[in-house]
Symmetry: D3
């Protein structure tokens, strides 16, 4: 299974105020490329896993620039198509101290949302995995259908599927008052689900408790699932969070000790870095305990870096996990 991990989702350009300013406070924006699934792909590529992104961008300087950034990050972009529509954007006022970050989404009418069809058997050929998130189906009925088609095609071909809940109420509310059916269908194809007890409650329609209890409810509801991973975050202020993680297997539960994530530079993409770290553990054959620790470590490290992507290599992860905090000469 040496083929790439395939991530399917929208590429976004993130346009953020520089420094610790608000948007439009000074006449400048910093650009980064993001999108939940792209972030996972980039994070995995930095850890030396072959990855590819399946997406659609407009055939203009923005679309080409986003694809170039993915290539720079080491992600195979040969499965990215161009199509009519605009580039999905989001505008960010980064948080600072006691002030929360603020996002203005501007993704309506994107080329990704307007995509007609994907040839999944071809796109997934030889893949080591398909990774999806709950953002794609939330974008609209066509995107939801594409996500389901992808997950079914993968399962049919024996390609493992991972699904990150990433529940965004505002996206769903704009077109579908009950996302449960769609999400259930997607999780049903997955062996690995990223979600906490709130996601499980949404999927199962009932409160099944927290932690292990929620995991067991999910295992019961979704027979294909073999692993459930989640983080738990306490926000002190924009610069200081506390982050813990757990990974539930059918037969065992694994927790990573809470980390004080101080001096936060950029919190966006922290959850995607966690997903990348967990997938790294699975595909590098780490133990479940080592896997959840790698996931949490990568998530914590991501907070120290501007941009949506985790750019950490295995050596960086190892250094962090061995306690390196002072200058590495």
């Amino acid at each position: 299974m040496s083929g790439p991990i395939i991530c399917f989702g929208e590429l976004l350009l993130r346009l953020s105020a520089p420094g610790r300013e608000l948007l439009m406070q000074s006449p400048r924006l910093d650009i980064a490329v993001g999108g939940a699934e792209a972030n996972v792909a980039a994070g995995l590529a930095a850890l030396d896993h072959p990855t590819a992104i399946v997406s659609v961008v407009p055939d203009n300087a923005l679309g080409r620039g986003a694809v170039a950034a993915m290539r720079a990050a080491g992600v195979d972009t040969s499965r990215v198509a161009t199509g009519p529509g605009r580039m999905g954007l989001y505008f960010l006022s980064p948080g600072a101290g006691v002030r929360a970050a603020d996002i203005v989404y501007d993704r309506a009418g994107s080329a990704f949302v307007q995509a007609n069809a994907f040839d999944w058997p071809t796109l997934l050929e030889g893949a080591a995995r398909l990774h999806l998130s709950g953002i794609t189906p939330a974008l609209g009925p066509a995107s939801a259908a594409h996500a389901i088609a992808a997950a079914r095609a993968a399962r049919a071909d024996g390609v493992p599927v991972s699904f990150d809940g990433n529940y965004r109420a505002r996206l769903w509310e704009s077109w579908d008052s009950d996302p449960r059916a769609t999400l259930t269908e997607l999780v049903a194809q997955a062996d690995l689900f990223f979600g906490n007890h709130r996601d499980v409650a949404l999927l199962t329609g009932r409160d099944a408790g927290k932690g292990r209890e929620a995991a067991e409810a999910a295992f019961a509801a979704f027979p294909n699932l073999t692993a459930i991973a989640s983080t738990s975050r306490t926000v002190i202020d924009a610069d200081h969070h506390r982050l813990a993680a757990r990974l539930d297997m059918r037969e065992s539960a694994h927790e990573a000790d809470e980390i004080a994530v101080t001096g936060i530079v950029d919190r966006i993409g922290g959850g995607d870095a966690f997903a990348a770290g967990i997938l790294h553990g699975l595909h590098a054959d780490l133990s479940p305990q080592a896997t959840v620790e790698a996931g949490l470590a990568l998530a914590a490290l991501k907070h120290s870096l501007p941009g949506d992507f985790s750019r950490f290599a295995r050596a960086d992860l190892a250094a962090f996990q061995s306690g390196a905090r002072d200058v590495r000469r």
Copy 2:
């Protein structure tokens, strides 16, 4: 008639590559606020004319930032509403030397285009003038109807109307194969039209020659017109243009000698600066010859400044016209 000159049109954010780079060449964008009618308003305000903008923006950091930039430029923004939809954007790779500038428009779905209604009698109360351009009606049927309603309301109230052709084939082609009826209706309300022989040919449906001939054809077709202004541009390269201008009155023709516009910093908004200069001449009671010379001078000066706006005061215009090119201490 000491009320403001009212400009009606969309506010756009311009996001441009820094330096002489291409978009996405480095991860940064410079922001400016633009839009043809906003540029005219800002140019007039810098020349100490009371101006106001009528527009609609989204109620988010981008819309508020655009409005703040208009206020900073001295334009009354009390007639700007907020509404559903996004902020209209355009992305610019500035030209340099032998390379032409390149624009990616991203204005579909804007709050301005989605605007429902404007209360023109109130908005135009006490106005010294209404200024429109051909971009607004090209945005779609609702915007076209708003533009016509505005022009008619102004004429009904005795508010003079100026209309800048600004013909953009790509916008019209997307929804209306024959813009002639709409444009004719708008020019019919105007006392001042900005357009050259190509615009006149489009409006009258026939080639009526160039220069004075075209102007006379337009005067014949549009009895309310009292003045027609236009520039003529020769592009040597992205840094060097030659620019001339003419102003036709019913009884007389006035030409401004061609200027070598060298060392161009930013060519966008040059035509809007010309319109501002002409309107300045009219509202400051300059002679037609002084008016066309002011228009051409302001257009030339604009090319020396980053951003869409002319920011030149009367003293700057006078210094330029008196030949100042070396350091003013």
Copy 3:
């Protein structure tokens, strides 16, 4: 009382070292517009209160730029005059970690200080309030006289007066060894005084205790006063302060719990944001308790933003007060 809150004071340009550098460490400065009273005006405008600034600037690019920044912030600048003299400046090396910020003032000879006369009855016509601070009278005898004239004219016209002590020993020492008479005259006109026990001791010439005791001494000495507001600040390091506030009414005392202001981006203007928050409470008819909490919240938020101004809307304030610290999507 729908007229603007009128703030009277000098507009300053703040020129600060970028990043966390010292002045002149690299050849670049960041510009912001400030001045205690301008900061209050901008903070109030961001909260949707009509505000206007009364000031004098030089008729050059710096003066015009400062006025444009005020307009951008939503403040009515129609009462700003131009006059002989220079633009007041201050140069800032921002603090960082264990290093305190450092300011080089350069405001001698400013157009504001050289101002001859203000036509207060006209300037205050229809005003909802006049806001002053102790910096203006400290600038010299003419400025002190202007401040007193303004306060008296306001009281004579029934316009409420607020006065922020802002005691700056270095300014007073340069020309007046005993500011008590001047300050007493100003506080005597005010219904609202911003000051703590040290200010009260200065005004009354005796130590009247702290907190409520000081407030009662001030109420006794100044019969027009109805409210006294103050903050109490503990500085851990340049990035971490603790901030509490109190608002004393004649009949009641209101305290806002201390906030840990961590990850400080820019501490300048924090006190002015507090004043803006208190004035917001008064003019939005909040209860005294809600008012002091709004003042403290706005003061805390200001520390998260570069520049002298609070730029927070009511929604931002509400989000902060409801505990939002993580990304607002």
Copy 4:
């Protein structure tokens, strides 16, 4: 022959003073990735030709960053190895007006120069072409041997070889007083040689005249050659050059009219863009005349862009060749 065009050469980081400053005038450097052969690869990739770079970089942030930039430019980097040694650098003070640009090379001891061996049969498998330049053999005896081995292996496998003279006297003088034998061996393997009459004189040991005469002398000396391309440059100042080009085939000569390259942004990489344009013509089956015009056009366009790379797509080239110099909307 749909395989990639393989470019073999050193990847360099270019560290240049920002704006029009001298190195170290302000404490900042702009980074670009360059190297003659890398520039050709990037230029070709932008024109949609499959390209790959064969090189060696250190296994550190600089080496990885250089490789990422090549990937972003669309070049296949799977043939780039890591090895001991440093990253080759060069420092640039860009020219401006009457001041010439100035380069400080810092490439001694690089990982590329220290490379031991290349497995050419594998590296060249399926290649559409091997492209080399005279810089690689000038770096030292090992690099010269690698270049010769590459060229011989290509010819042995039927892979066409192109060689760009790029004669750098200072590099040769440091270790080999007579580069003629090495260069002759390399040109002997080539079907396409980039060089002018001075290169031909160096190779043949005699002055064979200019233009067509020089080309015929080269064709006589090197029976494998089928095409010789060269530019001719007149430098007016750092911002204004004049550039012409010729392409000699065995049976015909083709000249492209001199272009005034005005408003130069960055002259570095202009020759490499010419090579990319010529190779584009050959591999896109353009006529020799169209090929030399494409080469000259791409060379001219490159001067308008910061960085070593040509980033122009076929549409950009076509727009330039059709005369587009004003804003493309």
Copy 5:
């Protein structure tokens, strides 16, 4: 006479808009250190002449930073004192294309102007030369007296004096309607005068013609003069000037051919670079013809560099004079 060339004058900070913007167009300023005499000192130091500056600055971050910049430029700052008063500033909107640069001076009340006394015998001990300009005496009566005292002390000690007219009408008009007496006294002490026919007319009180005629009038009026140098500038636009120069000795006249100074980056300090080039010629024992050519060449080169200082070494000057305009590798 191996001691330093002593330059006496005010150190200024120049705060300029970045890029080609107007002041306050974006919230950033670039800092450079300038002042006519400081520029001459820096230009000479870059050419390896020992130089020292005599000046007074405030004892704050700005004064210290200005002195550090002089030290960085290689100028001995041990004769710079600190004193009460502010740092002299000037604000610059750089010119671009058809738009002239614009300066806002802000030097009133500077520490230099407030300086009490200079101990000239000590300050001039061992000096190779004293260089002054007409700006210093124009700053006010005390500065005029200091300049005269310096020139007299130098002449008394056998230290040659050079004086650059640098006539600034606006400075003189503010306090002295007839600067002729002061300037005459200064030129009377000089062996070298920088000035053209207008300066000579001002000094002699009559129009003595141009070029050689003016020089001979000056030689007649000032018996100590042995050389008079001047440039002649034609301004095409802000980016393109034409510059010629002449050097008149008592017995011979020397002209340097006009240079097209294109692609101008920064015109400020061009005249000071000319003075540095002439002084370089004198102190390096160049012939008068070589001297005037060096002066003109250095003046032309200065226009290519941001900031007030010429930073060119002798090798740079030689390269320019030998015609180098393309990349120096």
Copy 6:
């Protein structure tokens, strides 16, 4: 003993990623000048001690720029020679939050390492002290020999010698498996040694305990030593360290209380600032207790400033030591 403190060591350019980015994350680098001994010289000069650096740089823009930066910092650079070889560089990804900083050294082949000979009697004439660090001898056998020659010459001339251990295992391992002989020889010449118990163990070949015990072992082994200074650092994360210090005299021990160094901006050069602070104490005749407190205070302050240098004057040190953490107006 009013001559300069002479620091002998390599000047390095530090090229660091801007903001909190990784190297090559965006195409820009910030430049600072560093090198352990240069940092000490700059730190002492900022405290008004005459200092000079002895070093060798290449004769190019980088070498000249490094020397200019030293001059700007107030260090006498007349003892810096130029020579063949390159400029020593290091590339820095600054740390942030939980992520450690990372350094890529690139100093092989530098002009300093290739230096042939130093004329120590001349270079040390009139010196108040010679300061060395363990980095210089670690660079290679020639540098080790130069360091020893310098230390011996100083002792022979009665110039006190200080030596900062600065043990860098990676440098030594590349050429000398047993640095003990070299280091012992150097410490033997010193009156002041900067090192902790690990350094003492390395020098004496045995574990002599910590703190006072280690100091006494060193005093016993090196009879010329009169003082030993060291810091003790606890790293919480990249932004938060705890720092304590001790100074052992032969007869007494002095400790400075641990400081919480929060909000760290730049940790590089912290140890060199400590050395500068201790040397300041010695040369300003502070008591040992005041000396160690000054050393620790300067070390802590350095963490708040970008770049390798401490730029703090005595007044800044005093303000910090008196507890100033809030804005100094």
